[in-house]
């Protein structure tokens, strides 16, 4: 095996934080592809430019995703990375594993690939970095026969992902692990066979803490919430105060709706005015907990800056029940895709299409009524559409008022 001199990236083996270079070299000791990846990276550091080509056409028979073609421009100099494809393995919900399962994944990967991984990629898949085209069918047979399937890539549903939820969190408002599993199973076809205009991501968080960043990086963000009161355990409130918490400054004063008060003895909450932001609950988790009906808020459209700027997801359904078999959520997903499919040009994310076609078109398409919870503020300009039906409804309302002698605004 060729020995590369790597003075630049060797610098990144120093210091306390775990070193990715050490990881690459660990694989390089026993793997030719990883060894060339090390030499290749040193060259990038030296010249300050990357050498990977655009993704190519690779995959497993019948699927249109899960493998991302990667080739180096420097295949002659570094033959081990001439092909260096990525394989995405669909992670289990919440990234829970057993040692036995991961050992099996590692053993197969060492047999066919570079031995390098990302645990995990940004979308959530367990990412295997670096293999050759001719190994792909074997890799797929090995993994799928043992119960592991590929994740999504290209113009498809990307691998759904969720927070730790009921597995280990007291704040979750629905079973994120189970919904993630259920949607992944329900939409296998949409994950593996790219039929959309562009990518579509679904992320599930159990509460407004949003530990999977769904509001910022999922076309569909499913964020847990509740409808009842926050139950206060006054003994625990006293304990927090006793242990040094300045409840007025840290809790009451930072409540965005100012719906709380504390007189040095009791913490009171005007629940009707609470917007369920989670600040007080996360700071006083022993003292405060939500009660009542649980479910989720559905938001739509977030994405990174390409093409015309980043978007955060917009609220479209303020409250939805999230219970097995999740029929309501699944039906909503289908309606959203149907509207998107009808209106999108190639490479348009749903948020962009909604901006182009208008939120009204989208909400009508999926059968959602307009309600104030969807907006921060109403429109500021006087340019608006009035359909014939809208006008008929306004006129009918006025006719009704004339009859009853009572205005209805």
């Amino acid at each position: 095996m060729k020995k590369y001199d790597t003075p630049l990236i060797d610098e990144l083996e120093k210091g306390p934080w775990p070193s990715f270079v050490t990881e690459m070299k660990k694989s390089a000791k026993k793997n030719e592809m990883a060894n060339d990846a090390v030499g290749h990276l040193e060259k990038c550091f030296k010249t300050k430019v990357g050498y990977w080509k655009h993704g190519g056409i690779v995959g497993v028979l019948g699927y249109g995703g899960g493998v991302i073609g990667r080739y180096s421009e420097l295949g002659d100099e570094f033959p081990g990375v001439a092909h260096f494809h990525t394989v995405r393995i669909n992670q289990p919900s919440g990234f829970f594993y057993t040692s036995a399962a991961l050992r099996e994944i590692c053993d197969i990967w060492d047999k066919y690939g570079s031995g390098l991984t990302n645990v995990h990629g940004s979308t959530g898949d367990l990412v295997l970095l670096g293999t050759k085209t001719e190994a792909l069918e074997a890799i797929f047979a090995e993994y799928s026969s043992r119960g592991w399937d590929l994740g999504g890539s290209g113009s498809a549903l990307r691998t759904p992902s969720c927070c730790v939820g009921p597995g280990r969190c007291e704040w979750t408002n629905y079973d994120t692990l189970d919904l993630s599993y259920a949607l992944t199973q329900e939409f296998q076809d949409e994950i593996h066979r790219p039929t959309f205009a562009y990518k579509f991501k679904i992320k599930m968080s159990g509460c407004a803490c949003d530990c999977v960043a769904s509001i910022a990086r999922a076309d569909m963000s499913i964020i847990g919430t509740w409808k009842g009161n926050i139950e206060v355990n006054q003994d625990e409130v006293k304990n927090y105060a006793k242990n040094g918490m300045d409840i007025n400054a840290e809790i009451v004063g930072m409540c965005p709706t100012q719906c709380m008060s504390y007189d040095g003895k009791e913490l009171r909450i005007n629940n009707a005015e609470c917007s369920r932001c989670m600040h007080c609950i996360t700071r006083m988790t022993k003292a405060l907990r939500p009660t009542g009906e649980r479910g989720a808020t559905i938001c739509i459209g977030s994405k990174a800056p390409i093409v015309v700027g980043s978007l955060l997801s917009w609220v479209i359904v303020p409250f939805i029940k999230v219970e097995p078999p999740y029929t309501e959520v699944k039906d909503l997903v289908r309606k959203i895709w149907e509207w998107w499919d009808e209106n999108a040009k190639p490479r348009e994310r749903i948020g962009e299409v909604i901006e182009m076609k208008g939120m009204r078109s989208f909400l009508e398409g999926i059968g959602q009524a307009p309600i104030p919870q969807q907006i921060k503020e109403p429109r500021k300009d006087p340019f608006m559409f009035y359909t014939e039906d809208d006008m008929a409804a306004f006129k009918a309302k006025e006719a009704e008022e004339k009859k009853t002698g009572k205005y209805k605004f």
């Binding site: 630049l8 430019v49 050992r103 910022a216 988790t285």
Partner: protein, 356 residues
């Protein structure tokens, strides 16, 4: 040797088989948790059962042998059960309190770094960079390693007013949701792309390329059977390069990074926020990007000194005002900080009340 029979459309294995018995028993019935130190927390169930979590840093790029080492540790102390986090940490899940200290000792002896829980700095969300991406204009892993070496105390022990979430994106595609981080590094191009006209016709679709441009800088170039780019309109986003390989935008001497601050993704206290540009350009300086690291450390320190408890960077800045942020940090305010793309209407000041 014959390969096993492939199966399609099976999806991932069911999560339940990977949950330790104490989680199976107390699933969805957790009562509260306590952060014992930045590397250790305990969750307590309604039943009184407890599960301890020891969080360990990972460089995200892992050799299979390191994953096997995680497995060995989990076998020894956790009945083989562990998990990873969305920010690439490893979490060892311990059901028996007696195993917590031996586990921590063993991890320390193996050189693993414990931390990242609570009001400090945890692992960095980042992209592939030069290690594995075609559109990278910096190396994300190298930047992360350089930053975290310098910020290690905030991972392991030192506390901040609130969490500081860091991210690195190796181009403006921002595969890692950099756009809503407390502090993020985003790599940028700074030059108009060049076009290998002779390859355009065979490799690119004209309408797709024209449509890929957010500033409408691209128009047909019939003489070359290709396109031309209006240099006055181009903002170097590189989207045309993504859809059309003969377009080239990489430039080793001009590619660099920008720093954005003040974003967040949770809804605690205030709504989720985008990160905003404060430093428009720093040259790529591999292997350690010293100026980028110094800038991030400086911003963290000014925040640590001035923010109120529980304020995230963006909330602190909104309270004191951006003009104050620039004066406090001494960061030069430049034209790039004024939005001239899609958000100018929302971001210019429309009152005469501000601070000197």
């Amino acid at each position: 040797m014959a390969l096993p029979q492939r199966k399609t459309d099976i999806g991932p294995p069911h999560y339940k088989q990977f949950l330790p018995p104490v989680i199976q028993k107390n699933y969805g019935k957790w009562k509260y948790h306590e952060v014992i130190n930045p590397g250790l927390m305990v969750h307590v169930a309604e039943s009184g059962d407890k599960i301890w979590t020891v969080r360990v840093a990972s460089p995200r790029i892992l050799a299979t042998d390191t994953i096997r080492e995680h497995c060995d540790v989990a076998d020894k102390y956790c009945g083989g059960f562990f998990r990873y986090t969305t920010r690439n940490n490893v979490e060892f899940l311990v059901s028996d309190e007696k195993q917590v200290e031996p586990l921590r000792k063993d991890l320390a002896a193996r050189g693993f770094k414990m931390g990242g829980i609570g009001a400090g700095i945890t692992n960095v969300v980042h992209t592939q960079g030069w290690v594995h991406c075609h559109s990278a204009c910096t190396d994300a892993s190298g930047l992360v390693k350089s930053m975290m070496d310098e910020l290690m105390e905030y991972f392991e022990s030192k506390r901040l007013p609130n969490k500081v979430r860091l991210a690195v994106a190796c181009c403006v595609n921002m595969c890692g949701a950099v756009h809503c981080s407390d502090i993020a590094v985003v790599a940028v191009h700074t030059k108009v792309p060049t076009i290998a006209h002779e390859n355009f016709k065979n490799m690119c679709e004209l309408p797709t390329v024209i449509g890929s441009c957010p500033t409408r800088a691209i128009s047909p170039d019939p003489a070359n059977k290709s396109v031309k780019i209006n240099a006055e309109k181009c903002m170097y986003c590189g989207n045309c390069f993504t859809v059309c390989p003969p377009i080239s935008i990489k430039d080793p001497e001009r590619d660099g990074v920008a720093i954005v601050v003040g974003g967040k993704i949770n809804s605690l206290r205030t709504s989720p926020k985008f990160s905003k540009l404060v430093i428009p350009y720093i040259s790529n300086e591999p292997p350690r990007w010293p100026k980028v690291v110094a800038a991030i450390k400086h911003i963290v320190e000014v925040y640590a000194k001035n923010a109120r408890k529980h304020e995230r960077i963006g909330e602190w800045i909104e309270r004191i005002g951006w003009e104050r942020f620039f004066s406090m940090t001494g960061i030069d305010f430049t034209f790039q900080c004024i939005d001239d793309f899609t958000f100018m209407r929302d971001t210019m000041r429309t009152s005469s009340t501000f601070k000197w």
